[in-house]
């Protein structure tokens, strides 16, 4: 029974991230490309295997999810289109959801908006909260 729960969780991650952790072949190119490597306690390539194994707790409690710079080098270079950056992003979202208050209405956005906020952050914020 726990298996089906695990599968449900993985499906949720897939949906949140839009990427398929099973496609990872552990080549390590993402980790090799990561500018925050020394800060990451769970390396980018490990995100896929942690998710497949169902070790969500460890991911949520990791520093890695917050040390990721969202530079997307891993997404750009991944040969299997797993895009670990998106899995990291999904992890952050899991954390946000686990703390409740995980929905943001579009109307609330302008008030939160600062002039010099990069476009990318906006998009990423929408992905995080508008699902």
């Amino acid at each position: 029974m726990s298996m089906t729960q695990l599968e449900k969780n993985i499906e949720a991650i897939k949906e949140m991230s839009g990427s398929d952790p099973y496609k990872c072949m552990r080549c390590g190119k993402c980790t090799a490309s990561c500018p925050a490597y020394s800060e990451m306690d769970i390396k980018p390539h490990q995100f896929a295997s942690y998710i497949i194994r169902g070790d969500f707790e460890e991911l949520i409690e990791s520093k890695a999810a917050w040390k990721c710079l969202s530079c997307f080098a891993c997404i750009e270079r991944c040969p299997r289109d797993v895009q670990p950056g998106k899995l990291v992003d999904a992890t952050r979202q899991m954390v946000a959801r686990s703390r409740g208050g995980d929905y943001l209405q579009p109307e609330e956005v302008p008030a939160l908006l600062a002039e010099d906020l990069p476009q990318q952050l906006l998009v990423s914020a929408f992905r995080r909260y508008r699902r």
């Binding site: 298996m3 099973y22 496609k23 552990r26 390539h45 490990q46 295997s49 497949i52």
Partner: protein, 666 residues
């Protein structure tokens, strides 16, 4: 005394620019034996060759020295030219004054001096040359294939289709080999017997193929084109021509139910009667009686099969029969088995019936197998829920007494196949594969493996399993590590499948010895050249097919089988074989029969015979070495090993080389 003509080539300016060709001609003109010397712009050209032919005729030349490019380039040309003028082609020597002189030296005087020395060495050698005749040996137009697995079947079919007669010798009661035990084949997942049995039937019905099943090669003599092979046809105890293959005997044999005779074909997962065919689609469909277990042979009582046989085909009195057949070529296709796992106690193979090998899993998955294709644990017949596959069990293992140093090559792919087949049938099974590396070089192979991961969610973990511990509750505890995540793993499994290393069929050593075919440290047959002659043994007339040569999968085996067949056809298509005349020769007066030469000969070309010799007026019978000219390849290993100087090599004789040394050191 020879009458030698020396011809010095300018090769345009290639030689003439650095070597004073005219001076070379002048300096060699008075060498012993030389009656004619000249130079020409291009010796290899039509006009140059014409010049040689004219000189041979005019001066009655008995030997030629051509000072030109490397003999690897034009020795053949000049030999053919000599033959045209009626001179024995082996009376020609080439002095290499281009690649080994003019092209590498700049000083003209020095290069000219060297060219003269090289020419002198060649002249000195020709003085001792003797006319050599290429030998001829007839070819028996029939091939023998040892082993009736997919490799042997394919080789035999290809040879037979080309119109030559082929015999297959198979030691089991049926052909089919390992492939007949498999369930499905990667990467397309066709059913193994669906693609194999038609070929088995074709072999059986082919007019050019004779099958010797339940037979073994007993003795091999002869050489390429002319092998004599003794085949032992083991007593089947069933008269071949009378049996209709109805199977009545097998179903009624009392030992079928109570005998506890493990079926070899089902890898001991099932019992078989004492009179049996290995499997239902066996070819030929004629059972054999296992005399070691049969009650009649043990006690003289029973005889149920004989009484019940509707065609009176049972013959308890049958004897082994030995037939001798002549062959022109022999293909070794003896295949493989998996290694014994006794040394791998950590995987509990001998402790738990739920730890099985991949071949056993093939049988368990096979619809014709012991469980009718239903995957179940052998201990409690329950369907396993968590299955662990362990790769490289004994492969890539440097400890010689435990495993094998090589990669078995097929395990990665068949494990992915097994995992997918299981998931296809029983989707809620959890499958974990522990691997060291996943190796999938082959067309559509990596895609196949990725499908197991991505679509079937088979859990691949990098890290070898350390221990499998059977638990009191009947499950198995698997201790391993996930090296990529740096975690130790302790997981429960219902079944553990071991990808045991493959090894050449243990019988191959004996066969290789009979054939004098060389074999490596792992008992794989050695090829004549790893890259350029991969299906030939260094021993002429012996060819290799399938796993006997090295680990390979079915597609590769079939291609290699075809390649071996082509080589055989190429040999059998000839009426006679031309033999290299530069062979070893034994001086019977000097030989003391010590066998040193036979031990170093890589081709088994040396035998010993009792020969009558006249030594200083005494007639004696001595055991002396005899060189088989059809087998000798002219390497000369025997000549330098011979302690008494009896062995010499024609074309590169001791005297010829010594005189070259003398000429250079003059």
């Amino acid at each position: 005394m020879q009458k030698i003509g020396v011809f010095v080539c300018h090769c345009g300016t290639n030689i003439a620019a650095t070597v004073d060709v005219k001076k070379v001609v002048e300096l060699v003109r008075y060498e012993p034996g030389v009656v004619y010397a000249d130079d020409y712009m291009y010796m290899c050209s039509e006009a140059g060759q014409e010049k040689i032919i004219e000189a041979i005729k005019e001066y009655n030349l008995t030997g030629l020295v051509i000072c030109s490019c490397s003999p690897r380039m034009h020795e053949k040309t000049f030999r053919a030219c000599a033959a045209k003028a009626g001179l024995n082609p082996y009376m020609v020597e080439v002095a290499n004054i281009r690649e080994q002189c003019s092209w590498i030296h700049k000083d003209k005087e020095e290069a000219t001096k060297k060219a003269v020395i090289l020419a002198r060495a060649a002249i000195a050698k020709v003085n001792l040359n003797t006319p050599l005749q290429e030998g001829e040996s007839p070819v028996t137009k029939r091939a023998l294939v040892i082993g009736g697995g997919i490799a042997g079947i394919q080789t035999a079919l290809d040879i037979a289709d080309a119109g030559y007669e082929v015999d297959i010798v198979e030691k089991e009661p049926s052909i089919g080999g390992r492939m007949s035990q498999f369930d499905k084949t990667f990467p397309t997942l066709d059913c193994a017997s669906c693609i194999l049995t038609p070929k088995m039937v074709e072999v059986n019905q082919h007019p050019n193929i004779t099958l010797y099943t339940y037979s073994e090669v007993e003795k091999v003599s002869g050489y390429v084109g002319n092998f004599d092979v003794d085949i032992r046809k083991k007593a089947r105890s069933v008269i071949f021509d009378k049996c209709t293959g109805c199977g009545e005997c097998m179903t009624k044999c009392p030992l079928g139910k109570i005998g506890n005779i493990p079926s070899e074909f089902d890898r001991g997962l099932k019992n078989r009667p004492a009179i049996y065919m290995p499997f239902a689609q066996a070819v030929p469909a004629v059972p054999v009686i296992d005399r070691e277990n049969c009650t009649y042979f043990k006690t003289g009582k029973c005889g149920v099969c004989s009484k019940l046989c509707p065609s009176k085909a049972i013959d308890y009195e049958q004897q082994d029969e030995i037939v001798t057949v002549k062959y022109g070529a022999i293909v070794v296709a003896t295949g493989f088995d998996i290694i014994n796992l006794d040394k791998f106690g950590e995987y509990a193979y001998n402790e738990s019936p739920d730890v099985i090998t991949s071949i056993e899993l093939e049988r368990l998955m096979n619809a014709a197998g012991p469980t009718g294709g239903h995957l179940e644990r052998m201990s409690d017949h329950k369907q396993p829920k968590d299955i662990v596959f362990i790769q490289c069990v004994g492969s890539r293992c440097d400890s010689e007494e435990k495993g094998k140093p090589y990669c078995s090559k097929v395990c990665c792919m068949y494990t992915a196949k097994h995992a997918m087949l299981i998931k296809d049938h029983w989707p809620d099974t959890n499958i974990t594969v522990f691997y060291i590396d996943v190796r999938t070089p082959g067309k559509n192979f990596d895609e196949f493996y990725r499908r197991a991961v991505e679509q079937y969610h088979v859990n691949y973990i990098k890290g070898q399993v350390g221990k499998v511990k059977p638990q009191p509750d009947g499950s198995l505890l698997v201790q391993a590590a996930d090296l990529l995540d740096g975690k130790q793993i302790n997981m429960k499994a219902d079944m553990v499948v071991l990808a045991a290393a493959v090894e050449p069929n243990p019988g191959v050593r004996k066969i290789a010895t009979m054939l004098t075919a060389s074999i490596d440290n792992n008992n794989f047959l050695t090829e004549a050249h790893a890259k350029l002659r991969p299906v030939e043994s260094p021993t002429a007339g012996i060819f290799l097919s399938g796993m006997a040569q090295g680990p390979k999968d079915i597609p590769e085996t079939v291609s290699q089988a075809g390649a071996a067949a082509v080589k055989v056809i190429g040999l059998l298509a000839k009426d006679h074989l031309k033999t290299n005349p530069c062979t070893a020769q034994c001086d019977t007066l000097l030989c003391n029969g010590c066998s040193t030469c036979a031990n170093v000969c890589p081709y088994g070309a040396i035998t010993y015979d009792d020969v009558q010799v006249m030594d200083h007026g005494l007639r004696e019978t001595r055991r002396v070495a005899q060189v088989n000219l059809a087998l000798c390849q002219g390497c000369g290993a025997c000549t330098s090993a011979c302690p008494s100087g009896a062995m010499d090599l024609q074309g590169f004789s001791n005297r010829q080389i010594t005189t070259e040394v003398d000429a250079i050191c003059r």
